[in-house]
Symmetry: C2
Subunit: 665 residues, 2 copies
Amino acid sequence: MTNTDTANSPRVESDIVQDSINAIRFLSVDSVQKADSGHPGAPLGLAPLAYTLWTRHMSYDPERPDWIDRDRFVLSAGHASMLLYSSLHLAGYDCTIEDLKNFREYGSRTPGHPERHDLAGIEVTTGPLGQGLANAVGMALAERILAAEFNDDENTIIDHHTWCIASDGDMMEGVTSEASSVAGYWGLGKLIVFYDQNHVSLSGPTDVTFTEDTAARYRSYGWQTLEVEDANDVQAIDAAIEKARAETTRPSLIAVNSHIGYGSPLVDTYKVHGSPMGAENVALTRERLGWNYAPFEIPNEIYKHWRSGSNNGTAQYERWEQRWNIYKAKSPALAQELERRFRNELPEKWNLEMPTYSTTDKPEATRVSGGKALNALAINMPEIIGGDADLWPSTMTQLVNRGAVSPGKWRERNICYGVREHAMGSITNGIMCHGGFRAFTATFFCFSDYMKPALRLAALMKLPAVFVFTHDSIGLGQDGPTHQPIEHLAALRALPGMSLIRPADPNEAVQAWEVATAHTDGPTTLVFSRQGLPVMDTTNMKVEAGAYTYLNGKDAVIVGTGSEVSIAIDARELLANDGIEAAVVSMPSWDLFRKQDRQYQESVLPPGVPKVAVEAGSPLGWHEFVDDVVALNRFGASAPADEVYKHLGITAENVVAHVKKLLDK
Amino acid sequence: MTNTDTANSPRVESDIVQDSINAIRFLSVDSVQKADSGHPGAPLGLAPLAYTLWTRHMSYDPERPDWIDRDRFVLSAGHASMLLYSSLHLAGYDCTIEDLKNFREYGSRTPGHPERHDLAGIEVTTGPLGQGLANAVGMALAERILAAEFNDDENTIIDHHTWCIASDGDMMEGVTSEASSVAGYWGLGKLIVFYDQNHVSLSGPTDVTFTEDTAARYRSYGWQTLEVEDANDVQAIDAAIEKARAETTRPSLIAVNSHIGYGSPLVDTYKVHGSPMGAENVALTRERLGWNYAPFEIPNEIYKHWRSGSNNGTAQYERWEQRWNIYKAKSPALAQELERRFRNELPEKWNLEMPTYSTTDKPEATRVSGGKALNALAINMPEIIGGDADLWPSTMTQLVNRGAVSPGKWRERNICYGVREHAMGSITNGIMCHGGFRAFTATFFCFSDYMKPALRLAALMKLPAVFVFTHDSIGLGQDGPTHQPIEHLAALRALPGMSLIRPADPNEAVQAWEVATAHTDGPTTLVFSRQGLPVMDTTNMKVEAGAYTYLNGKDAVIVGTGSEVSIAIDARELLANDGIEAAVVSMPSWDLFRKQDRQYQESVLPPGVPKVAVEAGSPLGWHEFVDDVVALNRFGASAPADEVYKHLGITAENVVAHVKKLLDK
């Protein structure tokens, strides 16, 4: 069974090791072949790395995939999903040969790219490049903070590594640069990233565009950099991992020089990146690597070898469990707290401290009220952690009396992400995937664009993170159109699984934070104003219903969200002067409103009554609910907020005109 | 007038130089003060740099701001807009004291962040951090390519520098990393970036998150890095610029150690970053810097000094004009061609080579037809240039018979951006802002998210770039939900100024490229299918109208876009079996349809006739046009495309059910 290609190599491994590596390769290649779709190149090249990691280094227990102190593994190069599925199968996770045979079939647990909810052992949904590495940074940060919070002098409860495999493509993505720079600042010593340096990407050799010295770049971020000259050299991989583990104050990047499609006739070409190799090439690869088994046939001794390595999963878990039992006996409250936090369960009294506002209070920007609500929640919810992209004096999301998370200050709660919105989003997803926290982010609404790929993955993974966006309209004023969101409400309302709330006043802002916090099976976007908004009466207020009638009126309905509810109220008064009785509906959340029963929906938006919406954003989507819209089909303008509203027609007068036009019909 | 703070400095400049520098400072500070809004810190710190650049190094002519061979300047740190406005004013551009006094007022030419169309001398709209530096890379690339294309041995027609000022925030943004890495690969020697290293950002000192060695990072990209120890040292700035100019094969990064808010009591604090300093602090700053003039008062000798520097703009232009006159005489065709290209004017016969398809042809993916159309245009339009984010074998956007733009191969037309979608978008904006090209980009539609900030700025700047996105729906199939766009059509339809076309077949794809090319006053997004689509009859086809009736029917209207038009046609046949005559409308573009007159609109979507839309994306927005929608309120799934369509209900049967339900009402 010895492979003739490597027979003369000084680093030849024993047959069982070679076979255990080749098992990954052929499970992967044969699954891709059966699906007639997929990426065989990376699993062929990286099989020795996966083998070394799973059998010699990673701490896990396939029987207990939710063990809180397991090592985390992130395949940032998500297209190499078969590498992961094959490894999980061989390692003994609940990933069967049937699962592998169903690769990329509808409803299977083995989709084209790994998805977090589908299979135990998949920590993160990956595929869009760059995300996984940034997620891994978030996981390593979560580990570091939890360790500082929960470990005591005698019992180490949280102490695990985060491993990540990243591709050339990951290294080119900006989000990777952002996340790696801040990881260097934090000095996350238990983050170990393998860079699959194969010099080939989807469309050809990488040297047509990617000639930077990536290792030097990582050193500039403050990382340790190591290199494995030959990805087939298990001992060299071993040695590099040991060096990486020994460095505890810096993250490590291990560049592994691999050959995409190793063993196949298409080795080192882009043709083996993203398409099945074809039956003939698969047969030739079998021959070259000396693999004589039928597709999906794995001899028992290979399973045995895989599952009896030095890191026998169950044994590792059992050692931890001993410590955990002592810890539980000694600090039962802390232990329960840790378990509660990993269940994403709200503590008792979580919302006891929420602020309330009276209609006699001064107007206040919802960003300010939102900040107060957040801080009120943080009093009873130590799992709340988060930060901003260098804008806290504007977003008002600083957790007061708490410092910045930084080396040596791991029990703090404010994360300074710098002007790195994208990494902020992706790191937040990583923190949430790790568990133990409810994480939030904050920046200007316009810059939600910079982190959209992360928002999408939060929704796809159903992570209960909270994404705060302030300065939510032309009400931002003089910074002008580059900073004034227009299309952003529509863009995020169209994102499946993302709840979005745009509160109209300080009281709605408080309720919005409560609804977002109680929503533990998916992400919420909170959209706050820069400008002060009058305090509304709470009698009928029902943010959790998505929309409610704030003021009654039989002739027409004016629907507003956020800062435009005030305009709707003004319009109602103007209409009253003309004997027209208009209702005002505040509609902070379309998605929450869609979840109400039809009777409630029709009580708020009665069929047959003319309805006009007013919102300082794109009109896109409003016709689902109303007959006409006062909104913006253009970019904003740089001027004081009142001026912009006036010149762009987001005014009570304009609403009145639209209502009258409908009534005239 | 000598400033006591710097009087003892060995680098003290003459009074007129100091005054000329302080003129920038106080025009800026007083404008911010008058607007009661803005960013005074950077202009105070960077005034000596701006002075040195404008009076000693930049090649420009204030009388001819559109001179094609002018140096380009990009203020990536757009919040420092007053630094730019003040410099333009002092240099003699059409930017008056009145303009400065109207800073941040509605309708003024001096908005909060610089906007390309507002004022001569503003090359790029900046503000969202990171964009400007990436735009500058695009400009420098455009210069390099045009120089190779148009200069002859005797006459250098295109030979200018691109200058950029970037902030700490710019350096943290991922798009900057992406663009700088590829700029290093290209070796853009005439790109010179100043990094305003002031160690303070909006919310505090940068060392709470940003401790990387930025210069080392830039060296890893292949840049020359230089440092100016003191931003007030004009001679050191001069010397660094000379070194940067002398390096012709690498871009240069000059780190300038500046003091944000220099001269003010708030120096070196974040408090002077983004808010007016207050009258008292302004007075103290006047005192400290020895500036005894009233707000907006500038003595004549300062104007004289500014406008008589070594780079007297008009003289520079005149030297170029001499060369240009010789060139025009010698190569009139080339000269006319260059002028045409800078006017964004279509050449004669631009669309003579477009492919046509007959209904007897085999089905073809619109990405394939789109690629053919693009190549047909490129035959007669040498200004077409563009590339992809490492996906050309999938996006089909390679320009055949043309190589990759790379060092020494500057006359090629394919740009390999690598897996750097965001930089691809922003560099494209830079190429378009430079002039001389019609640039396009290509990647999967799902990854439009990664470049959204650039798409937004293309729309805001009205740049006629073409953004191609393929694999436009769940029809992408087995790569699964991470790669299947859902909300993306809605997100880009909501973006003001962005035209979006999703063609239904190969013929519509060809027309879509023609419409996009003829649209010279704004950007177009073209959305293409991965899967093959049957060829449609062209008799009634009218992509430029946004929607048209493809098949008649009096009882109902089924509206489809892209790949779903085939489903609409199938549904029409099923309905015909039940005696229901449904029309089929193909609606490739909402924005183009909205531009039609009402009569046409009502002929296509007749009021009173039940209308159902079908689209494999979010339903958001469709209610503007139809009564009901067959669409997706969820993420996609990993399986062969047909399976996904079937399981997710994007089927003719489902359309039929929706039509019948409406008819039953």
